[in-house]
Structures are given as C-alpha cells and as structure tokens.
C-alpha cells in the first residue's frame, strides 16, 4: 500500500513536471468569447478560425522563437461582461499573456480597461489584448491604450467604405438608418449621418434604434421603412435581429439594398437563402469571392476539411495570427510584452493569403486594410453555412480610411 502511494505521488509529480515544462514551451492565446448560450455560434466559429490559423500558419511552419508552438486556450465568457473579466483573470493566473476577444464591444471595453490596469500594477506579468472583432470606434479613440490592438476595421472605417460605395449609386436618394440600441448601434448611426452628409446629398428619412434582442416581430419596422420611401437601408444589426429585419423587409415588399455589417455566415446566409439575393450588401475585410489568392483557396479548403460546420467568416484572424507571430519573432520574446507590443505597433504586413497590406496604425493601434462591399448571391465559389449562397465582392476600397483622424492619445510605457 505504501509503495502504491509513493508510486502515485511520483507519477503525479512527474505529471506536474511534464505539464509545467510543456507550459514553458508553448505560447498561449486565451480565446475569451461565448461558447455556450445564445451567442455560442459566433464564439465557436471564431474559435475554429483561431485554432486553424495558429495550427497551419504558425505551428506547421515551425512555430515561433525557434520551435515554440502556439496554442489557443478556449475560455467561455457566456457573452457576459463580468464573466469575461473573470476569464481574463483565469488566463492571467495560468500565465497566458495574449488575450483574444471579439464578440461585443461592451465586453471589449471592459477587457481593455482591465488589461490597462493590470499591466500598470503588474509590470512583470503584462498581457496584450488582441481585439479581432469588436468594432466600437471608442476602443481606438478615447479609450485606446498601448496594449489593445484591433485587427478588424472599426465601425467608422466600415461606414466610410459603405458610403464611398453608396456615393457611386445614383439611384439612392433617401436612406433609412436602423440599428440596435446600444453603443455599437449608436456608433453606426452617428458615422452614417456624418459620412452621408460629407460625401453625398442623400436625405436621411429615418434614424432609429430598436431594443437589442427584444423585438419579436420586425414587420412594423419594415412597414415604416417602406412608408418612408427609403431607397436603401443601413444597419449594424447582427444575429436574429439582422435576419428578422431582412426577412420582414423582404416580406413587406422592400426590394432595395440593405447595407449591413453582420449579414453573413453563422447561420444568417443560410437562413436568408434566396430571400437575400441582391438585397444584402455586406461590408468587411478579407471577403473572398472571387478568392483573393491561390493560397487562400488552399487555406479555405483545409479549414473546411477540418471544420466542415464553420466558415472563414472573420479572415482578420489570419492577419492577427500571422502578425502576432511576426511580432514575437521581431521582439525575440513571447513574455516581454513591451517588446511585442512595440513590434506590433506600426507593423506593415503583406498578407499573401488575403492579398492585402495590413498596417497596424501606430497612433491608435487600428489595422488599416482593404475593405470590400459584397452582395449576397448564389453565384459564388466559396459559400457560407454550406448553403450555396455567399458574398460576392461588388466594390473594393483600398486601404480604407488610411488617414482617418483619431482622438487617441497613446501613452507608451
């Protein structure tokens, strides 16, 4: 019995030793997004994209810093602000130095605050926040900080691109703005008002916010939009709010373009099907019909083989992964966060896969890249939701909002 106990103790000690040594040799990224509950689809899709990017783009190419593997550690925040901060703490306690989060700007705001405070108090355990999807402009303006990097285009940049395209469509004279009633919806409305006034003479016939996730039937909204005589709609809606709005518009007889931020993939493209044809105009980076490069086609094929259920709906994750790996190489360390952040800051990266240059603007840590507006159609090579429907590029704005102003006053350590 004694021998048995001794043996167990030895095995356990060995186990601890092995796991801790494995610890030292991997560079971990804590992925903090919803993996359960109503928003689990978005989170799970993003996780698959991160895992695949890290595996194929970094680990299969020999890792970083001479053979260290990168690893994505999934932490479920249940789309809750408090829970997210708990998970950030969990990640920090596990010695993880990179935090990736994207779903919800509200949560991103909370995380960026926490990271800022944490880094100030714990200079030896600093972390970097890789924001791959939260697009509230404030994150790279008033609330910017040295540890936050945004790889997606923010709501203003997207609106800049949308309005560039709209300005070239002469049939649009009246515009209806509708969005969800929270920080992001308000940011979209403000940006739309500003850019439409600057670039066009389009009249805004409606500008409203509806309660987020609480509207059961969008028919009355659709009626109102129709009655206003709008030639197009701009919306930042996502999830069921996007689908219900689009479907109600279609059912009520609206046959004009709807410019949207989140009207593709994660079930939305599949649910719209033929109803979205010609109506949905998606703005985004890295859209891929036609495929940007042979490398992307290959990458997409590999991704679909491994994760047949999910899509490459957030191609910026590819950039985020490659740029992080590059920054770690340049810094020569995955623990000296100041060096890594300095390497990321101002980085100019040529994405062979997405066929675009990406500049991580030094003054606000906002990635500048090519933006596309694409139309929902079944005439595509790469579909979403395995539905046969996808987004075909209609117009491209090169290095969108390259010189856009920022109110960020970056404080560097």
């Amino acid at each position: 019995m004694k021998i048995f106990k001794k043996l167990t103790a030895m095995v356990m000690a060995a186990g601890v030793f092995i796991s801790s040594s494995a610890f030292a040799d991997t560079v971990k990224i804590a992925f903090i997004d919803p993996l359960s509950g109503p928003f689990a689809t978005q989170g799970s899709n993003g996780l698959a994209e991160w895992k695949y990017a890290v595996e194929t783009l970094v680990n299969e190419n020999g890792g970083v810093l001479g053979g260290k593997k990168m690893e994505v550690v999934a932490l479920d925040n249940k789309m809750d602000g408090k829970e997210s901060l708990v998970q950030v703490q969990v990640a920090i306690d596990q010695g993880i130095r990179f935090i990736a989060q994207g779903n919800s700007s509200g949560i991103a705001n909370a995380i960026t605050d926490m990271v800022k405070k944490h880094n100030k108090r714990n200079p030896d355990k600093r972390v970097i926040f890789l924001n791959y999807s939260a697009v509230d402009p404030a994150l790279t303006n008033d609330k910017c900080n040295f540890w936050h990097f945004r790889f997606d285009a923010n709501a203003d940049i997207k609106m800049d691109a949308i309005t560039d395209v709209i300005a070239q469509v002469p049939s649009i004279k009246k515009m209806y703005l509708i969005g969800q009633d929270y920080s992001f919806g308000k940011a979209v409305a403000a940006a739309a008002e500003k850019y439409l006034a600057e670039k066009t003479s389009i009249e805004i016939v409606g500008n409203e916010l509806h309660p987020i996730g609480k509207v059961k039937d969008f028919t009355p909204y659709a009626r109102k939009i129709l009655a206003s005589g709008a030639d197009a709609v701009i919306t930042g809606n996502w999830g069921a709010d996007m689908v219900n709005l689009g479907k109600s518009l279609k059912e009520s007889g609206f046959d004009k373009p709807v410019y949207c931020y989140y009207c593709a993939a994660v079930g939305i493209t599949g649910t719209f099907g033929a109803a979205g044809n010609g109506m949905l105009h998606l703005v985004g980076e890295g859209l891929h019909n036609p495929s940007p490069s042979a490398a992307f086609t290959e990458y997409h094929k590999g991704f679909k083989a491994k994760y047949p259920k999910w899509d490459l709906s957030q191609p910026r994750i590819i950039n985020a992964t490659q740029m992080l790996a590059k920054a770690i190489e340049e810094a020569g360390s995955a623990t000296d966060m100041v060096a890594v952040a300095n390497a990321l800051e101002g980085m100019e990266f040529d994405s062979k896969i997405l066929n675009t240059k990406v500049i991580m603007r030094a003054k606000d840590h906002q990635a500048i890249q090519n933006m596309h507006v694409a139309i929902h159609t079944d005439d595509v090579d790469i579909d979403y939701d395995n539905s046969g429907y996808g987004m075909k590029i209609f117009k491209t704005v090169e290095m969108a909002s390259m010189d856009s102003p920022t109110t960020c006053k970056m404080k560097r350590p």
């Binding site: 059961k216 909204y221 009626r223 009655a227 099907g273």
Partner: protein, 318 residues
C-alpha cells in the same frame, strides 16, 4: 391612415399567434392550477421538429406531424413527470416545469446546433396576397391568420359545444365531483396538457418561418406569453384572447410610430441640442416609442396586477 390599416392587420396576425400560445397555457393553468413555465420551450420544439420534417417531406407534412409529436411529448410529460410531482404540491410542479424549460431548450440546441436554422415558408405560399398602402401582405401571413382563427374557432367549439368540453369545464371547477361521476379526471388532465403544449408546438411550426427559428426563440416569446395570460386573467380563455390581441397591437403600433421624447420636449419649449451625439441628455432626447415598445406589455402587466389582480376577465378568487 394606410399605414394604420396595415398595422392593424400585422398586429392581428401577431396577436393571434400569441393567442395560440397563451390559450394552451391558460387551459393548463385552469386545469392544474400550475403555470407551465416550459410552455415556450414546446413552442420552440414545434418549430425545430417542423424544420426537421420539412427537410425530408416538405412544409405541409411538418405542419401536421410536428404539433402531433409535441402533443404526444406533452402528454407524456404530464403522465410520467408532472403527475408524479403533483402529489408534492404546486411549488414542486412549478419548479419541475421551470427545469423542463431549460432541459428542452438545451436539448434542442444540442440536436440542431446553436445557430439559426433555415426553416422557410412553403414555395406554394411564396407570393403576395394583396398590396396595401405600398406595402404587401405575403400569402404566408394570411395563412398564419387563417390557421390561428381556425384554432380559436375549433377550441371554442370543443369547449363550449361538445361533451368533452363540458367535462373539461366541469373538471376545471369541480374535479372531485367529476371524478365521482365516473370520469377519468387524470386522463382529462393529460389530454389538456397534451393539447395545450401541442398548440404551443403548432404556434412554433407556423411562426418558425416568419419569426426565424433560432435558439433564442423560446426565451424571446416565453415571457410575453405569461403577460398575455395574466393580463387576460389566469384560466380565462376569452381573457387570453383579448389580451393577446391587445398586446399584439400594442407592440405593433409602438414599433411603427416614432413619437419621441424629443418631440415632447420641443413641444414643451426646450431647444433641440446641436451636437446630439455628445450631449449629456442624448439618451433622453433620442428616446422614442419603438425603443420602449417591448416593455409596454410589462407596464400593462404591472398596472393590471395593481388595479385588477384577477386580470381583465379572471373570475378566480385567489
């Protein structure tokens, strides 16, 4: 005016859909004295089952089969679950249905995944029934309307004009006497629970293509159904009917008219701030009726409970 008429129709369709849910809930409550908190989960289940069946055989088979499956499941839940819990009193029953809601919701998400599913109206109904005021009413909406009215008429006929209905009504008020007269009251209970959940299932089947079949659908509609039942008066079918229509119209009209706090403030003599996006009172200035629309039913609920605790048509003495 044109928009008004179109809103009346839209609100009616939505209200009748609510009634299909609340009728089953209120019947179950009057029978068993317990609120079935899992009611909306059966609605969700109906939509997903119909989606599954529609992939294989098309929409119309799903329309018939899915509600039947939900009915059978509901009856089974009563027979093997609720009936056993019943002996411990109402609170355990309530907790049982509360738990059941999450079990069904998670089960549905486990089977069909956490994203929305592509459940659409049948192609034979993919046309515009008629145009009104520049807006169109799709045939599917008319179909929804007809099904809901049909259900209401059938339900009313069964309860008021048939022998089965008489027994149900008697069992509502005097279960012991009805049992003494030789009727199988537990069977009646099982039947009512089955049919009640079946109605919720049917509501899911016809609402799924229109309001989107997605994991949050039960949660989204669940609470509003309770409002209908309580406002109408617990246990009152006609009350549930009136309350459902009332809430249907309330929500539709609230969403359609952009009356804003800003208009009222201007009418009171205040000046519209120039740079509204950075104004400290921006939230108040930009508050509109559609924004507070979804909470209006709950305000109504509170008011009804304060001034008419039995609901608009409730007879039950608490």
């Amino acid at each position: 005016m044109d928009l008004f008429i179109i809103n009346v129709i839209d609100g009616l369709i939505y209200g009748l859909l609510l009634f299909m849910l609340s009728s089953g809930l209120t019947l179950i409550f009057s029978m068993m004295g317990v609120l079935n908190l899992s009611h909306a989960a059966f609605y969700m289940l109906g939509a997903y089952l119909a989606y599954q069946i529609s992939i294989i055989t098309g929409f119309w088979v799903g329309l018939i089969v899915a509600p039947l499956l939900v009915t059978i499941l509901g009856a089974a839940v009563e027979r093997y679950g609720l009936r056993r819990v019943h002996q411990y009193g109402h609170v355990p029953e309530l907790i049982f249905t509360f738990g059941l809601f999450f079990v069904i919701e998670e089960l549905v998400q486990y089977i069909w995944g956490r994203s929305m599913v592509n459940y659409n109206s049948p192609e034979s109904l993919d046309f515009i029934a008629f145009n009104l005021a520049g807006g169109s009413i799709p045939a599917y909406k008319v179909f929804m309307l007809l099904v809901s009215v049909g259900i209401f008429v059938a339900l009313y006929y069964v309860l008021a004009r048939t022998r089965v209905g008489m027994i149900i009504q008697a069992a509502l008020s005097y279960p012991k006497t009805v049992e003494a007269l030789g009727h199988n009251v537990p069977l009646v209970f099982m039947g009512v629970f089955g049919v009640g959940t079946g109605l919720a299932g049917l509501a899911g089947v016809i609402a799924g293509p229109s309001l989107t079949t997605f994991p949050g659908m039960a949660f989204l509609l669940g609470s509003i159904v309770f409002v209908c039942v309580v406002v109408g008066g617990l246990g009152s079918l006609s009350g549930a009917f009136i309350a459902s229509l009332l809430i249907g119209w309330l929500q539709t009209f609230a969403a359609s008219y952009n009356v804003g706090a800003g208009d009222i403030l201007i009418a009171l003599g205040y000046e519209y701030p120039k740079d509204i996006y950075y104004h400290p009172w921006r939230d108040l200035w930009t508050l509109t009726l559609p924004q507070i629309g979804p909470i209006l039913p709950y305000i109504l609920l509170v008011l009804v409970l304060v001034f008419r605790p039995n609901g608009l048509f409730g007879k039950r003495e608490s």
